[in-house]
């Protein structure tokens, strides 16, 4: 007993035979047992990666502009098709969710509004839903 010291001896965390039972990506994506903030986390991740993917396509498509009017205007006529417009609505959902949740993550991440972060998330999602409906109506009506 008297040899026991106050600070622990150096521990090798990998010494247990089944070293890590990390859930891996399942810890991100598994919807079972997930609560509101956990949904915000995974959706933020998916919308961020999704918008990034869209951005890379968008930058490639924009190179058509360097090839002059015929190349670009050909694309413009494609872009009015219903399937394109559906993708546009999905994109806007992604931007809205990521942007609005990003406001929460930024404020909370600097230690502000932490105690009411759930309420803030709900409020931002309501705003986002309204904005999405307005945008979708505009896209399908005008486009």
């Amino acid at each position: 007993m008297s040899e026991q010291s106050v600070s622990p001896e150096p521990i090798d965390p990998g010494s247990s035979w089944a070293s890590r039972r990390r859930r891996g990506i399942a810890g991100w994506g598994d919807p079972r047992g997930r609560r509101l903030g956990g949904w915000a986390f995974i959706l933020n991740r998916l919308t961020g990666l999704g918008v990034l993917l869209y951005l890379s396509f968008h930058l490639v498509v924009l190179s058509l502009l360097a090839r002059g009017p015929s190349a670009w205007d050909g694309f413009v006529s494609l872009a009015g098709s219903p399937i394109f417009l559906c993708f546009d609505v999905v994109l806007i959902f992604g931007l809205l969710f990521h942007g609005l949740n990003g406001i929460r993550v930024t404020l909370v991440g600097f230690g502000l509004v932490v105690d009411r972060q759930r309420a803030m998330l709900v409020a931002l999602m309501v705003i986002g839903a309204i904005a999405l409906v307005v945008a979708a109506l505009h896209i399908f009506a005008a486009g």
């Binding site: 600070s7 521990i11 990666l49 951005l55 930058l59 009017p69 670009w72 205007d73 413009v76 930024t106």
Partner: protein
């Protein structure tokens, strides 16, 4: 009152060490927040200017040239490209860092993404210049 044991300087105690020999200040997250705020404003402007006030929802070539003839527009669009590229690559880097990679791999990723980001912005500048000088 007696003192707690303090681990040796620069070391995180047994079983856990911080990312560097001494913990490096992390600017990545703060840059993410700031570029994110810029993106929020600039993407809204970009969407409105390019889609929601344009008849048919998309500018044809002539419209694009006219749009970019305004220097304020060019500045805003370039700022938007810088902000969204920076924010997006920082985000992808954060996702990769969530896998607990070694410090060497993390440094390599940061370098690659920095080069990639600069290349994308350079491409955008070139494209803008090409469009506005089209005859």
């Amino acid at each position: 009152m007696a003192q707690l044991e303090q681990p040796p300087a620069g070391h995180g105690g047994p079983g856990w060490t911080p990312s560097g020999e001494t913990a490096r200040p992390t600017w990545g997250w703060i840059a993410q927040a700031i570029t994110g705020a810029f993106v929020l404003v600039l993407v809204t402007l970009h969407m409105i200017a390019n889609h929601f006030i344009v008849a048919g929802g998309l500018r044809d070539f002539a419209d694009v040239v006219a749009y970019l003839s305004n220097p304020v527009v060019v500045v805003l669009e370039v700022c938007f490209l810088v902000a969204v590229t920076w924010h997006g690559l920082l985000g992808l880097r954060a996702v990769l860092f969530d896998f607990g990679l070694s410090r060497r791999v993390e440094t390599a990723i940061t370098r690659v993404f920095t080069v990639l980001g600069l290349a994308i912005v350079a491409y955008g500048l070139w494209l803008t210049w090409t469009i506005t000088s089209y005859h």
